[in-house]
């Protein structure tokens, strides 16, 4: 291996930030030299033009560019720096582009057609997973779906006897991982009980298990356990019933249909898996989605691995195949935190994605592994105002030279991070459209647990109506830096929405140089296929 070439991608990014990250007050000369060094490093950058043995595709679900920026600052501040100078692991990759995320029928897309575009090379309609645009939404016929299926990069890799894996902090049957292995015109048909009567297209969980040519999927780690067990069986961690009506226990089918197979559902068993002895690993660590990283250790009953731990384990198993592997890794809960209007959990999950990417970089050879980090779509998440350098990213804006927070035209402080829409609207919120059940008074919103007598504990903050906001709340640092704070939104909605602007693609390794400019999202597939040599 060319050690110089191996060092280069990291060196480029390191030079962008080197000398700044740990220096409180870089001199003008420092700024100039570092900028100059970045250009020199770029001039020496030698694209890896050979084919890739392995491809790892990381998806930050809903990780728009503002999320990357805010997470970079949060991460840097967590380490004691100003934050702005920090780089997440994947920001150090040498090649980047912007991805146009619209789908065939959506200006602002959902995760199903966007992931379909990335893993099949073809855009399709909303909610559809790896079927073309001619299949009607919720098409029930298996034959119609089959006739219009789009072959995925994972399937192509498997057909060539590479190893393949999917990892996610969401349900492993959720849209992003599912697009890699399943074909259906409704992303929500994750278990057979989710389908309407008469639908012959297989459910997504069954498709994962029944995808079994050349040994099938080798590694699948994530959530969604109850979609895999029958409704006659109880979940081992929580005691809730499984969701399958067909009486299949897909976890047992996994073990029965694969060699050297293991199924794990808790952290201890996960850690006990010897990647040298296990060739097929199914890990389902929650009945539905996994915990947010911020809640994972403190809240999980049986324990669950982090995204970083799952990624590392997956690579350890997949890399045993000398022919190579394809691995998709999703930080699925960035999207959910944004939908909930809670920036803190979106940033901490992005921070965890950065660590997972670094683990992949550490575990692979840049000469033979193409690593791509991108998002399926963005969110209405904004970074605004004129905070001074190093201002806490979750805090109130305090400008350069100011001794107190900046004020708006009503004399009230405001935050750097906000949402254009969502549940952080500051009017009084109600649980019902008739406004008979008040939730939170006018003012800042949060995930406050109802503790008053006569509360069932199910009140939460799940608004279905708001009063018009009159003015803005008098925010304090204590309010806005609380991990359960919901950043202000302009438009009141139950759930904050996706956004339509382009998202970033960052890449390193073989053929990574093919990412350039502003491209259609489906080009990502074609770069991966080119890297694998599937086009030749």
């Amino acid at each position: 291996m060319d050690l110089l070439r191996k060092a280069l991608p990291a060196a480029v990014a390191a030079l962008v930030t080197a000398g700044i990250a740990h220096a409180a007050d870089p001199t003008p000369q420092d700024w100039f030299k570092n900028g100059q060094a970045t250009v020199k490093a770029s001039k020496k950058l030698d694209p890896v033009r050979s084919r890739a043995k392995n491809v790892i595709l990381f998806i930050g679900d809903g990780m728009g560019i503002s999320t990357i920026t805010a997470s970079r600052i949060y991460d840097g501040q967590s380490k004691g720096g100003h934050g702005e100078e920090n780089s997440l692991s994947f920001e150090k990759f040498p090649y980047s582009a912007l991805s146009k995320t619209y789908s065939v029928d959506q200006q602002t897309p959902d995760s199903a057609p966007t992931m379909t575009a990335m893993v099949t090379g073809v855009k399709t309609i909303g909610d559809s997973l790896s079927v073309n645009q001619y299949v009607a939404h919720s098409e029930p016929s298996a034959s119609v779906v089959s006739a219009n299926r789009l072959t995925t990069i994972l399937e192509q890799a498997k057909a060539r006897r590479l190893s393949v894996g999917v990892v996610s902090t969401a349900r492993i049957t959720h849209a992003t991982p599912a697009a890699c292995y399943a074909h259906t015109a409704n992303r929500d048909w994750e278990a057979d009980s989710d389908k309407p009567d008469g639908a012959t297209v297989p459910d997504i969980a069954a498709q994962l298990i029944d995808f079994n040519f050349n040994g099938g999927i080798d590694v699948a780690l994530g959530g969604g356990r109850t979609r895999f067990i029958p409704n006659t069986k109880l979940d081992p961690e929580y005691g809730v019933k499984g969701k399958r009506k067909d009486n299949r226990d897909l976890t047992q089918d996994w073990l029965a249909t694969r060699t050297n197979a293991a199924y794990v559902w808790n952290l201890a068993d996960f850690h006990s898996v010897d990647p040298n002895k296990v060739d097929h690993l199914l890990g389902l660590f929650e009945p539905s989605h996994l915990h947010y990283e911020a809640d994972r250790v403190s809240s999980d009953k049986a324990g669950e691995p982090s995204l970083t731990e799952m990624t590392a384990k997956a690579i350890q198993i997949l890399q045993k195949n000398g022919k190579g592997y394809f691995l998709m890794v999703e930080a699925g809960r960035i999207d959910h935190a944004h939908h909930a209007g809670n920036a803190y959990r979106a940033l901490t999950d992005t921070q965890q994605l950065s660590e997972a990417v670094q683990a992949a970089v550490n575990a692979t050879d840049p000469e033979e592994t193409l690593i791509i980090v991108t998002a399926d779509h963005s969110h209405t998440f904004t970074i605004g105002g004129y905070p001074r350098r190093g201002n806490p990213i979750l805090g109130l804006i305090q400008g350069v030279g100011a001794t107190s927070p900046d004020r708006d035209l009503m004399g009230l402080p405001y935050t750097t991070l906000n949402y254009a829409n969502g549940p952080g609207y500051t009017g009084a919120s109600y649980a019902d459209g008739k406004k008979a059940n008040p939730l939170q008074a006018a003012g800042p919103k949060s995930f406050t647990i109802a503790t008053a007598p006569w509360a069932s504990g199910s009140e939460g903050h799940l608004p279905n109506a708001y009063d018009p906001a009159t003015g803005r709340p008098a925010l304090t640092q204590a309010i806005v830096q609380n991990s359960n704070y919901l950043q202000e939104s302009i438009i009141p909605l139950n759930n904050e929405t996706h956004a339509a602007e382009d998202v970033a693609i960052l890449a390193t390794g073989p053929k990574a140089y093919l990412f350039r400019g502003i491209i259609e999202q489906n080009v990502i597939y074609h770069v991966m296929a080119e890297a694998f040599g599937f086009n030749h």
Binding site: E237, N437, H461
Partner: protein
């Protein structure tokens, strides 16, 4: 209390008792409550609605008198409380997964669910009067919890409130028990678990990604129900 129709209270001694390992055994009951919001000035009724409450050893279920909206809490053999909102007309249940309790602001205590008041809250209210309601001992308890003045008539055997009265922003919120029956003798029945399990199940966390779903479009703008 004068409006309470406890016609079958005499049967209280016949009620089957729900098993509970962390509390005194609770009778399995079916209740009908009425919730009224009264203006303080002239006792004007600003809002009123009835709802049903069923309690067994492992479940608490409620349903509005519209027959559509309900909630169910199930205590599993792992001592986890599973929670779903029920939309009966749409045959849909929205579930709130344990991993998302924090972000949904949810926290459950079985004793509070099964009795509507947590023991510590009940203990914080002083007994001001003891009486009998249809043969069952009851206590009138008063006090302030969390800055809010509360008046509770507590049925000491059934371990449920016969009434709760509190004042909220100049209005009196009055919850009154209208009927109480042994669960197997009640003319109104909880929705069987098997029926609920056959409903469409949606994880509440997924609602943000289901913006085009007809049910989601509907419920996000008209529903919500709390007791």
């Amino acid at each position: 209390m004068h409006r309470i129709l406890l016609s079958l209270f005499a049967l209280i001694g016949m009620l089957p008792f729900a098993a509970a390992d962390d509390a005194a055994a609770l009778p399995e009951v079916a209740c009908r409550y009425e919730m009224r919001v009264l203006g303080t000035a002239h006792g004007r009724v600003n809002a009123s609605r009835s709802w049903y409450f069923w309690r067994t050893g492992s479940t608490v279920q409620t349903r509005d008198d519209d027959g559509d909206h309900g909630e169910i809490w199930e205590r599993t053999d792992k001592n986890v409380i599973a929670y779903r909102k029920l939309y009966h007309q749409d045959r849909t249940a929205v579930e709130y997964a344990p991993a998302d309790r924090a972000i949904h602001g949810l926290d459950f205590d079985w004793q509070r669910l099964a009795s509507m008041l947590a023991p510590k809250d009940l203990e914080a209210l002083k007994v001001s009067q003891r009486k009998t309601i249809n043969g069952e001992p009851a206590e009138l308890r008063k006090g302030v919890i969390g800055g809010q003045e509360l008046e509770v008539t507590w049925l000491t055997q059934t371990r449920l409130p016969a009434s709760i009265k509190k004042t909220v922003q100049g209005e009196i919120h009055l919850l009154e028990l209208q009927e109480l029956r042994p669960i197997e003798l009640a003319p109104w029945h909880p929705t069987p678990i098997e029926t609920i399990d056959a409903y469409r199940q949606i994880d509440a966390t997924d609602l943000g990604d289901m913006e085009n779903d007809p049910f989601v479009k509907k419920v996000l703008h008209e529903n919500g129900h709390h007791h």
